[in-house]
């Protein structure tokens, strides 16, 4: 019997450590379905009133001078999907070359990628501002997508190189001997073999793009191409009269796709977070 008790100790200790996280997320869920919360205590009866920004946005005061939520959601989706796709394409091309082909500059590039992989790219935002202005991409979704892609790239290239390294040579060799070109071989033979890797990197880049706050906040100030993160920042940032019922609902609406993805792909995501350290 005593043995049973001691074996429960790790669970209890870890539960105590984890409690703040459970409380925070529990509050978010709870708060969005009640008119008001005092701490963890809901005031009033269960309601969907906080969610009316979805079907009757014109009745929500706090949203009156904000960009409408559905276009913002679409922007966020465009932003994160394009980031993920471009990251996948570019890093699997470069990763393949770095894994398979000997060429001048390979070592230098690989060293550069590794260096940038741990390099904190946020320190470059000030200079990036000028680069984007020069390219006439400032205040445009395309510009922010490019910057985000570039920031994700060192990690993507590194991880894709790793995936290509694990693919055996035989199949590829057969294709090349049969006279298929490198591009054809890469696209038709090798890419299908690294599908799990592509999926993992794609998920990660999508999540990272969906969550991104700083880049759209800094590089798209005018608002018509904004993303959800900037809207929520605006809702909280308006001083002490924050409509928490509304903000929790919008916040939950914003984080829900990520939570659902995470629920179904947590093993994959955890593995890639552990293997390719970032953040």
């Amino acid at each position: 019997m005593a043995f049973r008790w001691t074996s429960a100790i790790p669970y209890l200790v870890l539960l105590a450590f984890t409690l703040p996280i459970l409380v925070l997320y529990g509050w978010l869920l709870y708060g969005s379905f009640f008119p008001r919360m005092e701490g963890l205590k809901p005031i009033g009866a269960f309601t969907l009133e906080n969610w009316r920004f979805l079907w009757a946005p014109e009745t929500v005061d706090a949203l009156r001078f904000k960009a409408p939520i559905i276009p913002l959601t679409i922007n966020t989706l465009i932003f994160s999907l394009s980031t993920a796709l471009v990251v996948l394409l570019i890093s699997s091309m470069a990763g393949y070359a770095l894994s398979r082909i000997r060429f001048p500059g390979r070592r230098t590039f690989l060293a550069g990628v590794l260096l940038l992989h741990s390099f904190p790219s946020v320190t470059l935002l000030i200079a990036t501002f000028l680069v984007l202005r020069q390219l006439r991409l400032y205040d445009q979704l395309v510009g922010v997508i490019l910057v985000k892609t570039a920031f994700e790239l060192p990690f993507g290239i590194w991880i894709m190189k790793g995936f290509f390294d694990t693919v055996p040579w035989d199949l590829e060799m057969a294709a090349l001997v049969d006279g298929a070109g490198r591009f054809r071989t890469w696209w038709r033979v090798v890419m299908p073999l690294v599908k799990p890797g592509l999926l993992a990197l794609g998920l990660l880049s999508f999540v990272s793009g969906w969550n991104e706050f700083l880049l759209p906040f800094v590089f798209m100030p005018s608002g018509n191409q904004q993303t959800l993160s900037v809207l929520i920042r605006g809702l909280i940032g308006e001083g002490r009269f924050v409509d928490y019922g509304l903000v929790t609902a919008v916040g939950l609406y914003y984080v829900a796709p990520i939570l659902i993805l995470f629920f179904f792909a947590q093993d994959r995501l955890m593995k890639i977070y552990a293997g390719g350290v970032k953040g």
Binding site: P120, T123, L135, G279
Partner: protein
Amino acid sequence: MARTEALALARGGQAATWWRSNATALLFMMPAAILVLVFFFVPVLLTIGMGFTNIATATGLAGWQWIGTANYEQIFRGAFTGLIARNTLVYVVLTLSFNVIVGLTVALLSVHMADRAGGAFRALWLLPRISPSVVYVLMWTWAVSPPPFGIINQLVVPLGVAPRFWMNTDPWPVVIFVNGFVGASLGMLVFASAIESIPEDLFRAARVDGANAWQIVRRITLPLIRWPILFVLVYQTMSLLASYEYILLTTNGGPGLYLTEVWSLWAFHTALQSYFGNLEIGLGAAMAAILVLVGLIVSALLLRLFRFNDLVAEPRVEIT
């Protein structure tokens, strides 16, 4: 005459051969190379270069001049520089300690329980990292908001603690906890996978010899994962030095003047989000350049420490 022509031809032929044998690789690398060039290489040079100019929005970005090291002199003589450097140190040291200690604790506890339960706990700890920063900060803003609303006030008042507006009265603990709960998951994942790769025999042998749990952790686990620990320490030192997103979203450097302002946020405020209207991009770039240099040095150090040469080994088999 004929000789030089032949030489030129030969050289041309060489270039053609070179191109033929490398064209595929270069085409594969092209998109990545362009993005890295435009969004890393150029910005690094620009950051360092702009640090020696007075470029600012007040002069319309175009009318700038080289001003030598004036920006750096201004930074080092600035009235707030000492405070901000101290803040940065406090922020990095405390957050890092939280990250590593909590990450290690969660990793140790979670690997020594049933697989499914351990995985569930690790997934919970990953939530702050995979959630959008604005939503995560929203939850904290609520937790520390003034009575009768804040969760923390509701929990501590029965214990006899006076309720308060934590973000204003105790901004540092708030900043550290907000960042710590995000950062701890990195150590947790790295340490957990390192611990899981330790051969089970070692633990079994120690238990047979009568070692208790603490002795096993102290004598076997910790020495065997010292490299992952070192890695996380160095890596997170650097990313914390450069990171400001969560501080920007919580205290934004306040309350009051620069109370929780850290170096990277200072650069950001100076160059991109100034309270004073004029964006002093040159001055901000000088501040950032210091961080860029630290970042480059620490990254290079990391590569040295973690067997860089193995990582960039040539492809094993080569077909042309």
